[in-house]
Structures are given as C-alpha cells and as structure tokens.
Symmetry: D2
Subunit: 367 residues, 4 copies
C-alpha cells in the first residue's frame, strides 16, 4: 500500500532512500501567497544535518534543498511544492556486509519479510535520512503557522535518564546546547553521559518535547480525527519513537480526578483560561486554547560498535560488530523532525476545522 | 471536517450521541463469507456495558446490538455492516444544569468553541457511549483476525499506581477480575484503592495493555502508515487516553543500545526469532513476527462529586459539584475499546500489506 | 475494500440492501447550526419514491426517513447525521428463482464473481433502493448549499430519443411533468413512448441534466481533484449511468476552437462574465462563476418481462422472463439522485477550496 | 486542498509547472520486484512528446525522464518511485503579455479567482505539460498490469467529426498513424481536416477510446468506488476532457432494454461470457470479464491564432490573437495520457479488490 503520504487538506508525500540519488517531498495543499524560499527551508534542514557536533555522525552531507515547483516570485502559488536534497556522500561506501545479515534494532529483517527484496544500502527507506522530507515539509508548515500566530517549538527533554528540569528550561537556550536541551546544566550532564557511552561503544535514548503556542481553541475533530490522535500518529511515525504522550501523559495513570482536572477560570481580560494544564491543551480531542504539549520517547541508536548476536540471510546464528561511526544518540537530530511533524499535523487540523460552523462558512463566502 | 471515519481498506464510521436515539457504526470493507451474528457482537459489547460491577456506573443500559445490513444467512456479504444500539435510559434525566457551565476535564468548553453550539445532554459525541460503535466494529475485526490465526487481547495493567506484575499476569484470569486485571492479587489491591477513592468522591487513572499474537511478519508500511503509527492514532483517539507506548515505550529513554536491541537468533525449527522483545513486535513500523505490545495511559474519570472550580457560560467563576454516580475509574470498561481499536488497525494493515510484493500478487490472481 | 464512502470534508457513508432491514446513510462533516429536520429530508426522498406514477413500479414503500443522530433542537450539531429508511414491503416476495440465474444487465454475475456469495434478494446492494442513502445525504447538502446561495436543480433532458428542447425548458415546470421533464410537450411525447414500451414488455433509457446556479468562481482543485472530475465520479457511481458530460460534453469532439471557446467580457456591473457557456461553468477543473452544467446518460431498465437468454448458476444456457412489474424507465426516479450526488460533490469542493489563499485563511482566523 | 494525489493503494502524486524547473511524479504503493527502468518509462513519454509531427507544437523538449528513487538493481523496491522530467526550453519565452489578460478556454481566470495569484508562465499547473507526471506513472501501472496479463490500449477514435470505423480499426495500426488513429483511411481524412483548420488559424476536438483486455471479473467496489466511477474521475481529470463514456455510453439514452441488455451464454470451454458488450465490461460497477471500453471527449485546443475577445486584468474588454504555434488538436498527444490514467485506476482497483472474499484472504496468508 501507499504509505508515504500524510495529511488531508495539507498533505505531504515523501520519497527517497539514503543511498539513492536523493531524498524529497511534495507538499500539496499549501495556500497561495506565503513567502517561501530555499533559504527559509534550509534553516530547518541545517538543524538535522550530520557532522554538526561530536554527538552526530561526522559523515559530511551538505543537505542542500532545491525547490523544484510551487513557488513563483518568492511566494507559494497554491500548487505542489516539490523539494529535493540530492545525496552527495553515498557513493564510495561498501554495504556488501550489511546486505548479508539482519542488524538488531533495525528494519532489515522486516523489510525482507515484507518485500522479499531489500535495498540494503544504509537502510534504504528506513534510514534516518528519510526524515529530510519531513523536515522540509515541516518548515513550510511552520512558516504558514507563524503567519497565523501559532509557534511550534521542540527540544530535548531528556537523554539517558538526564532530564531537563522545567524551571531551568528556557526556550532561548535551545540553540545554545549542542543537544538542543534548553536546561544548560542538564545538557552538560547529558554530554558527559554520551562521552561515556561512546567509550563503551554504546548509545543512549531520550525524550523530545514539543510545545505549540498561540493555538486557537476549537481545533480537532471528535472521535477519530482528534488533534491528539493525529499528533500521536505523526510523532509515532518517526523512526525510533516508541511512545507518545499529551500533557501529563503516562503520569495520569497514577493521578486522581481531583488532581488531574484543570479548573476553568475567567481571567482579568474576561477570557476563559485553565488554571493548570495537565491536559496538555487538548480536551475531547479539540484544542482548548492552552499550550499544546506533546512528548516522544526515542530509543537508543541501534547501530552500536559493540559485538552483537544476530542471524544472517542464510539463517545462521552469527556475531557482528557494526563498523563505522554512528550517532551515539538519535534525540538531538530528531528534535526538528518532531517539530516538523507536529507543525504539519496542527496546520492540517486548523484547515480541517474551518468548516465546523455554518456561521463561519457563510462569513467566509460573504453570503 | 468529517472525523468519524477510520481505516482505509477495512473502514468504520461511527455515529450517535449519548442521549440521542442511539449509537451506531457502519463497517465497510469486511470480506464476504465471515460467520457473523448479533450474539457474537454482543459478547464484546457486554464487556463495556455499565452496571456490571460496583466500579462502574449503575445506570442500566441493555446495550443490545441490532445488525441492520451486510449479513445474509449468517455470513458477511462483503457490503457494509450497519449496527445500532438504541439508547434506552436517557429520557428522564435533567441536563439543564450541565448546559450552563463547563465541566473541568470534559470537552464542554472545546465543543462550544468549535461548533458555537453544543448538545449538552451527557456529553453528546464526547461521551463514553460513543465507544459502543468502536467495540461493535472491533468485534467484527477480532472475528476476521481469529480466522486468520491472529489473537488480540487487552487487559488492565495498572490502576492508580497498583501495577499487575508480569510474572503474575495470566491471560485466563482476565475475566475473573472485576477490573479485567489478570494479576488477581493486584486486582484486589486496586479494588481497595477504588473503594477509598469513592469515599473521597474522587477517581483514579490507569494503564491498559494489549497483546497481538500470531501476527505474520512484514505487516505495516514504511514512513507514515507504519503499524505503530496507526496503532498510536487508533488508541489515542479513545477518550481519556493521554499516552501510547509500543514495547518498552517510554522506558527506552533511559535504556542503552546494548540493552534495548533485540538479538536475532535461529530457533530449533529454523525460524528467525528475536531473543527479547523490547521493540514490542515492530521494527521500522513493520511487524517482526513477535507479539505486538501496545499500552495506553488512561486519565482518571473527570466527573467527580467533589467541589470543583469552573466557569459558566456567562463567563463567571463558579463552584460546582457534579451530581449523580459516575465510574470511579475509566480503565476496566475501556479495555475492550482498546482491544477493538487495535484489532481494527491490525486488520486494516494486514489487508493493506497484501500488495507489497509482485510475486504474491501474481500468485493471488493465478497469473 | 471499503466502497460506500464518498467525499473528503463533507463525507457520506451509505449502507443497506433492498431486502434487508433498511437503507441508511451517515453524513459526516456537516457544519453545526444548519436548520434540519425529517420533514426537510422527506421532501427529497418523496421524489424518488416508487408508486407515484404509472411509469414507476407500483410497489408501495412509505420510504419514511428517521434521523437518529446529529440534530439537536432543530439544528445540526456538527457531528454525524445518521438517517435510516426501514424497508417495509420486502417480506413476502419469493426470490428463489432470481437466485438461480444471472439477470442480463444486472450485477448478479459480477457480485458472485467478486464475493463468491450473493444476497440475491432483489439485487442486494446493487438495487435501486441503495440510492435512498444518496438522496437523504444529498438533501442535507442541498440545504447547506441553499444557505450559501447555491442552487442545484436536476431534471429529465431526454427519454428514448425524445429530447426536451432548451427553449421550451422552464424550471418551474419540472414538478408538473410526471417524468420531471420541464419541456411539457416533450414530456407528453415521452409518456406516449413509454406506454408503447410497456406494451412491448420493454424499457427505455434517457438523459438527466443538472444545473448548479450561484456557484462562486474559484472552486475545485487543479489536476486530480478537479470539480468536473469529482462530478464525473459522483454521477457515474449511480447505478445505470453509462456516461457523464460537462457543458457541451461529447459535442466538443466535433467543435472547433473558434466556436468552442467562451469569450470573456466585462458586464455593466464591472463583473467578468463569459458570453457563452460551452465550458459548462468549469475551466481547468475550477468553477468560473457561470452555471455549471452536468449531464448523465442512463441506460434502459434491465429488468424486462420479455424473454431473454442467460446462464444459470449451474452454468447452463437458459431462457428467462423476469416476472413482476418494473419501472419502464429509470430516469425520472434517478433525477433527484443525480441532484443529490452533484450537491454533495459541490459542497465538499466548496469546503475544500477554503484553504486556497493565505489571505482568506488569515481573515478567517482573525489573525 | 491537496489535489495532486490520485489512488488509494496504488497512489500517485504529481507536481510541477510548465515553466518551472521540471515536472514530476511520485508513485507510491507499487509492489516490489517489478522490472523497471528509465528506458521503459521513456517509451510512454515519447508518445506525448511535442515536435513529433506537424500536428503538434514544434517546441522541442527532450522530455527525458530520470528516476530518483524506488528502483534497485533494475527492480522496484516497493517504496516510492520518484521521477522527474526537467524543463529545458522554457527559458527564453516572454509571457508578459499572457500575464495581462485571461485567455478564453484556459484556466487563467479561474486560477486568479482561486489563488488571487497566478504563475502565468505558459499555464503553470494547468498546462498540458502537467500530464508528463500522469504518463510516467501510467507507464509503471501498465508494466505491472502486463505482468498480470492485463493490457490497456488507447487510440484516437475521432477528430473533428472524422470517426474511425470499428471494422477498419486494427490495433497494430495505432502507431502507423501520426494521429494514433488505427483506421488509416480515417486518419488521412483527419489529417486533411487538420491542415484546413491550421490554415484557418483554428483547432479541432475529438474522441479517445481506451480498451482494457484480460481484466479478471469481480474488480470494482459497489456504490461509490465502482470501477466505472473511478475511471470517469481519472479520465475527466485530464485537461480538455469534457465527457466520459463506458461501453455504449450516451447511446444508451436512445436504446431499449431489449437491445441494450447483454445476454449471458456459456461458451464451449464452459466459461460464462456475454454475447454482446453494450455494458463495456462493467456491470454494477464491477468488471464482468469482457473488454472494458472507456471513451473521452476532448475539446479543441483553446489557444488559436485567430482574433478573440476577452478581458484583461484591469477589467477592460480587449481583442487578442494568441501568438506562437500551438497544437491544432489535443487528441493525439492525449492518447497516452488517457491510457496512463486508465491503467493507474484499473491497477488500484485490482489491488483494492483483493480483500473481497475471506476465502481468498486465508489462502493468501496460508492460514
């Protein structure tokens, strides 16, 4: 089945393998008249580019985006925006060994079972490079959202048990941490942990948090197209994500109604507000006007240099050590991927919610 | 936007409010030739029926399903299966008070913001009764899966911090616990906790776990239509769910590659197996042949008798106490809802995966 | 695959067989606040009800619609509108004979090939009664469109070669003709033709035309979601329709650019208008502000009393005569079905087009 | 809304403007293991390439396809196939004049109304070059269909009133006619007509017919996802198409049941066959095993050199003559576009129909 398409009214389609000619995305349903350029998109892509810090693979990829359609005289035209990042450093490497066995924690085995056939060069379609398309499309969504006063910001919440404390977490510090962890003290401790893991030929997992600010109330559809349901799918579809939470998330399992309910109150401006935000900005699948809070659990990089046991394609038990250098942690480079997927989802739901109310529709058409 | 439709090749559409004429579902895309009857569906519905134990609302609803189409001579015909449960006890109650304010933790405020208009009778479309349609459709999916050798089983994993221990958890005990918690010792402690909360006019949250056994490897689509991504959406779309996990879930954030990777090994029968199952049966969004493990965090019932602060529709701060008796915990009645949504998702993905491989397609068409 | 669902933002799901318990539809995505009642829907259904004239089967069906959800205090709530028409006269009839062979021109053979199984009672899901769901949903769409100033009107354009002439065609006469043919002279000739065909135990085909007035310009999406492409699918999905045209339709094959192009001109009010409307109101798949004109070719009723040759389920050549009285022409009762499907499509596309332009979106959200 | 995406299980997404960097398509849902190469795709593209005959614009475009993903070692991998054709001759031309007014018969006016903004270079997204993506994707679909024994062939049925006679129409002659009209006598007459129209600075319309051979019975879904309904959408979505017919099409309007019904008969091999094929291979929206016949009415090229009246963007009535040479007829180059869209639709429906019957599904999974 087709599985590379996401969204209803704002829709993206990604393509490309890590070691093919390139990676790309088609963004369809972006309204006309939004200022857009390669420079704008590139800023987002640079946040996931390898080789930036010592906690990311030193493989050098320029990852330069080229816009092939949908922009005219610096603005979106309303028609599909096709973007491509050509692969540049995939040529020389020898993947003949990887082709012979199933790497633990990777999709080698499941792709073989599914397709009876596998593009073994660096993971093919299940490679981390697949996220380039998501980030480029996410950049478009973020720009549209900004012009509607909605801001989406993701950051590293935890790495290997080192957690950014809420009170020390300042958004303006996100870019100051090589791990995009805005509690700079925790960031330093996480760096030390990663140094240790690298020495041990091991890797660490973590948590990414994403906040949406300025979201109008009333966005999301009851029952299946709930805002949180779509956010869950969007975030869980990112490779290595094993859990998704909204607001207090799994902590609600140990909470009680009296502590978990958010009381409503009228503020000085006469606006209805919640006094707390355990719900993470979503009630009944619909935004309530508070900040929306999403969290993703990211597993440790499965490619580790340490010896591991596995099976080769002849069905024999073997022991392997995965050569080459790999990111000791996936989290920092995945931050902008989460941000992008959240933005795409939120924008799509904003668009979908425009037909909730007959009065608004009549007003829209001036009838 | 339309939001009451779920699935691609096996597709369900639900309708109905808690206090309208009834609740129903249309199941479209069910193959022809599957034995089906109201008695089969009813067994699943009885598991979510109110009034069964003292931890559920004593409101009596027969919740009897009627099949209106799609079955002929005891078998599915391949055309839509329409099912309805008529509401029977919704008549007398007075909802005039609820109409006047926004209940904390409920969707009253967000529905008003979205539609400018609200069916205030018992929550309308955001009521727990909405899940009747999911359970009836889930029953159909479970029956189809069974005939393919795939079993889906959900149960209560935790309530208010009382957790069923893995080693004491026996599937055959699920129905012996009034809370559907198959560690019977933990179940008793959870009951005691609930008694306490009821005295305190409070409520508790918990965790539901669902296991899928007998799933073939190779099911799920790369990138956006991953099996785990669709499970996340399916489960998060259930009211009161605030988090979803696959396999080790959020625990991966504190794990390391060396402990989180599942080694492959060839078993005595020559089959490739994983020695452990941290991944929860899904690698790269595709089933790996192990048990699939999904977990949902369920918030405490928001309707509590205790005094709470909120705002009325005139925008004034008020204090309320929600009258009537409500479930002190949502978890047990939601178990079969999780099971149903998981079954629907898994079946849809099984169907979608039938076109992965040209060789299989040629074999199917005998060409 | 699921095939009973139509539309994206305004979406309908139909169910039911001609001889099951009933026929129904779920309308999802209807905005909140639209006045709606069973009486409103019934008016549309009455136009396709059997037993109205001598050119329709005398089988008596009340075809009374019941609304089960989605309406509160006389207005739509924004949640799914479930409607059902219970079958009342299906009980006594004996279908044992039809079960034994394949009726020419019917879907008996193809259903058997598809499902390996058939609900042989009166055509099951391929019966004309299936259109009840379309008409009820179409009624909802028409009402929403009316409140936006868009009028949809269908009528009989031709029966068995008798064509309503454009200059004698007055909308106000549609209901005065038992055949819904607004050229009353042609209507009389068509009646005479039908009398003749009934005597000959034969049936006639015809053409239905549908006009959409008051449509804003700019509705429809380039490439695949063109307004005309969706209208073509909507109309061709109606049983017995074998062709669909927009504007001049097949006549363009013999036209030349100089005669087929519609010149633009500014009218006295300063509005851009087309001087002619060969295009039928759609250019590049997008409405141009003129009347939209759609035409459907409807085949003769395949159930005729005359002897016909066919094959039975044992694979033997046999001769049959289909008993019972059947409509000598499908066209008049299909008029309101075409109207409904066109209305559903147009409304869905109106909703989808609300996100074409960033400026309009900002205005909508007041940002 | 997103409008550049077509298909459910076999899905395509096109992008690109006539005068941007290129035109492309992403094919998602193609099974793994199908032999595929640029050379295979190019053969289809060459059939729509300009500059081939004197009845097509002499504008030289190499229109060379490049495959960017989804193929590994000469076979499809099951992941998205991204293809691009870079524009090469778009640079020099001056479109400043076209930008100033609305060309009759073109989408200039409707794009402006929709987006408030237009890429005026050569029609942007409504240009004939948009069909490159359809043809490249159609080539993939045709190759998959061939390996399942299904052949799709389109050809010119009529131009400007000159009709290919059924008895003189031989498939092997399609490529011998510069107009792809397999009745070579009619082809010559049509050429003469086009010479005449070119002298008159005018253009002609025509009809394209497409035949699908070897289609299994039982493909298509009742009600909305009928095979004919999807074919109608697919074909009507092609620019310049104003009508679609199946089998006898509009002729059924003047037929009678006794002449229009196709009698079933058992042939010598014991197979059920239809003696005639008025239905065009589809009964109740489901293939009946006969040839499937689809026809499209194509309007005359709207760009004609002759003087025409229109309106400029300042809202003034003006007279224009469209400079440059344009195809005097759209039909021949659209033949392979119709073939492609039909193939995509048929393949998608073949895939969708694999879950019609429980017995087949069990057999597929070996359970």
């Amino acid at each position: 089945m087709a599985g590379s398409n996401f969204g209803k009214n704002f829709q993206i389609t990604t393509w490309g393998e890590s070691h093919g000619k390139g990676i790309g995305v088609v963004v369809d349903g972006c309204p006309a008249g939004v200022p857009m350029s390669e420079a704008v998109i590139q800023k987002y892509l640079d946040r996931r580019k390898p080789g930036q810090t010592r906690y990311a693979t030193p493989r050098k990829e320029a990852d330069e985006v080229e816009i092939l359609s949908g922009i005219f005289e610096g603005k979106t035209t309303g028609t599909p925006i096709s973007m491509v990042v050509y692969n540049t450093s995939q040529r020389s490497k020898d993947y003949s060994e990887i082709a012979k066995y199933y790497r633990p924690g990777h999709a080698d085995y499941t792709f073989d079972k599914k397709y009876g056939f596998r593009d073994y060069r660096g993971g093919g379609r299940s490679s981390g490079r697949e996220t380039i398309g998501r980030v480029a499309a996410g950049a478009v969504a973020c720009e549209v959202l900004k012009s509607l006063g909605v801001e989406v910001a993701a950051y590293t919440k935890a790495i290997g048990g080192v957690v950014a404390e809420q009170e020390k977490l300042f958004f303006e510090n996100i870019m100051k941490s090589p791990l995009f962890m805005p509690d700079l003290e925790a960031s330093e401790r996480a760096e030390a942990l990663l140094e240790q893991k690298m020495k041990e030929q091991d890797s660490a997992g973590g948590v990414i948090e994403c906040i949406i600010r300025g979201m109008p109330a009333g966005i999301g559809e009851p029952v299946f197209e709930k805002l949180d349901a779509n956010l869950a799918k969007a975030v869980m579809s990112i490779g290595a994500v094993k859990g998704v939470e909204i607001g207090d998330g799994f902590a609600v399992a140990e909470a009680f109604g009296s502590t978990n309910n958010d009381a409503f109150a009228v503020d000085d401006a006469g606006e209805v507000r919640k006094k707390t935000n355990h719900a993470g900005g979503i009630l009944g699948g619909i935004s309530d006007g508070s900040d929306i809070i999403v969290r993703a659990a990211v597993k440790p990089t499965p490619s580790i240099a340490r010896d591991q046991q596995t099976v080769n394609c002849q069905g024999e038990n073997i022991e392997i050590g995965i050569r080459g250098r790999h990111d000791p942690v996936i989290v920092p480079r995945a931050v902008v991927v989460v941000e992008g997927m959240v933005a795409i989802t939120v924008l799509d739901m904003l668009f979908s919610s425009m037909t909730s109310n007959m009065e608004d529709i009549r007003r829209f058409f001036g009838r």
